[in-house]
């Protein structure tokens, strides 16, 4: 039992990011509301950012600045931070595009619930209504 606790405690950052990632992934797949899907995507991406950031950290590390007389300073790895700055920008742009799409979907169908939109699309499709009419005629 203590073994498991030790493993979890020693690498708790990875466990947190995995849990967050799964929550986000679940929301993206299972939620019917489009906005909630996007929130899920954001949680998913943020979890990955946390993974990168925790990867860079080192016990007792400070900002990566070296100045005269302090060449032996222990600093965190700055590269993942830079990468994640870029990834955050990407994530924000994705969210922006998604929200713009949701606004236009709402204007088109009057709803942001996936099943309502699906039903609306089905009734709009000419082939489907043709099929439905024939079915209705037979009965």
């Amino acid at each position: 039992m203590t073994g498991i606790i030790d493993i979890v405690h020693a690498e708790y950052n990875y466990w947190i990011y995995t849990a967050l990632m799964m929550i986000g992934f679940y929301a993206m797949i299972a939620k019917k509301n489009l906005i909630k899907k996007i929130i899920g995507a954001n949680i998913f991406q943020t979890a990955i950012f946390l993974f990168y950031i925790s990867l860079a950290d080192i016990t007792g590390g400070t900002a990566p600045i070296i100045w005269e007389g302090h060449e032996d300073v222990i600093y965190t790895n700055p590269v993942p931070h830079c990468l994640i700055l870029t990834a955050i920008v990407v994530s924000v742009s994705t969210t922006a595009v998604a929200l713009a799409l949701i606004i236009r979907i709402y204007r088109e169908y009057g709803s942001i619930e996936e099943d309502v939109i699906l039903a609306a699309r089905k009734s709009l499709q000419p082939e489907f209504s043709e099929y439905a009419r024939q079915k209705g005629g037979e009965e």
């Binding site: 489009l34 990867l55 990407v90 998604a98 799409l101």
Partner: protein, 503 residues
Amino acid sequence: MAGFEIITNNLPVLTVVLPLMAGFLTPIVGLIDRRLPWYWVMLATFVILLTTSSNLVTVITTGTIHYHLGGWNPPFGIEYVIDLLNGFVCLIIAFIGFMVSIYSKESVKKEVPGKTTQFYTVFMLLITGLMGITITGDIFNFYVFLEISSLTAYSLISMGDRGDALVASFNYLIMGTVAASFILLGIGYLYAVTGTLNMADMHRLIPNIYESKVVLAALAFFMVGFSIKVGLFPLHAWLPDAYTHAPSTGSALIAGLMTKVGVYAMIRFMFSVFTPVFVIDMTRMTEILSWAAALAIIMGSVFAIAQSDIKRMLAYSSISQIGYILLGVGLANAIGMQGGLLHILNHALMKCALFLVAGAIFYRTGIRNLYQFQGLGRKMPVTTTVFLIAGLSMIGVPGTVGFTSKWYLALGSIDAGQWLFVVIILVSSLLNLAYFWRVFDNIWFGHPHEIEHLQRDEAPLSMLVPMVILAALCVFFGLFAYYPVHYVLEPLSEALLGIGAMP
């Protein structure tokens, strides 16, 4: 001459910078005159075509080009590497981009009214993203370009048929975000164990840590991520809707290029970031890939038979054709690999031509249901002939490009001792025949009621020229497959598999 030298020395980066600058200047050009963006984009894509051709010629004659961005040496700075593989893919991107941009004039005016400037801006940015993915030698830079191309593709698709396109685009966005996040995670894992972001450097370091579970997890994340991006069979759900509802020009560009670049990325990661030994012998990833691809070939064709919307049929056919490319890669022998790589070129030519024809028919008649195509053979003879040639090539009739790559794939399967794959290739050709024949039958042998009223009503010249060029190339490369195979694919496939050195 000093100015000229600055250009020639910086050609690799110009392949990405030119479309980027052209993209951001498009709105300004559009402000001057609404009609100008078409000329502007055509000029830009033509210049990019020249640049990429020059790059490929340099690679063939003098070997791989390494370009260090801002003079920073790798592995610290970002490096652009052009070898035979991405030189080849870049040329395909530039060529298809140029053809589609010529075609776009009338189609965009009709299908995206009032938004032509925005359309062309996004068009150029999509080309930027694809070029960037292909050309970069830095794994994080790769991710950024992947997202640029994805975001522009979402917005390009959303400009299509009112509501449907929006939902298709949104679904693609969700799937694409999952894929990109997986890829980002894979990059993080590899960075954690190797401490570098340079692809060549990773390739050098990974053999020391073959046993690491992290490397295995990274490979799994990359393969799933790219499988979503290329629409490999069980993960293809976003693809048919997105291709069907995008504007015709957008469909042709996305169908012709997006998945090809995804396949390129898959090959690049499997063989040049990881090692051939790792993916072929140790994890057997290529074998898994070849079976998934075989499934995709059959299922894509079966679904295509059931469709009545021409664009949706072509989209499902795309899923099956991606299967061919990945089958060639998965066979992991030189001949199969040549077939797969050749099919990247072939599929780009054929599928782009077919989508352009579908767009031209929609432009003239407003019809997308293939059962209403009766009499089109009389009405639009040139357009439908292009469809015939590209369709026959898709089936794999000798003398067209489709035959050459299928021939190589069959030889590769025999070489690998996988007779079942030969059977699958043959069965799939018959299925291709089944769904293309329905279209041919309706176009030439179906008689509409008022046949005597039919006037010849051909698509505008700006549409005909790129379609005819693409169809001509389908036949040309079918008869003279020697040139791409001898100069590019033979040395390339051996280098990828680790048998020979990359020149």
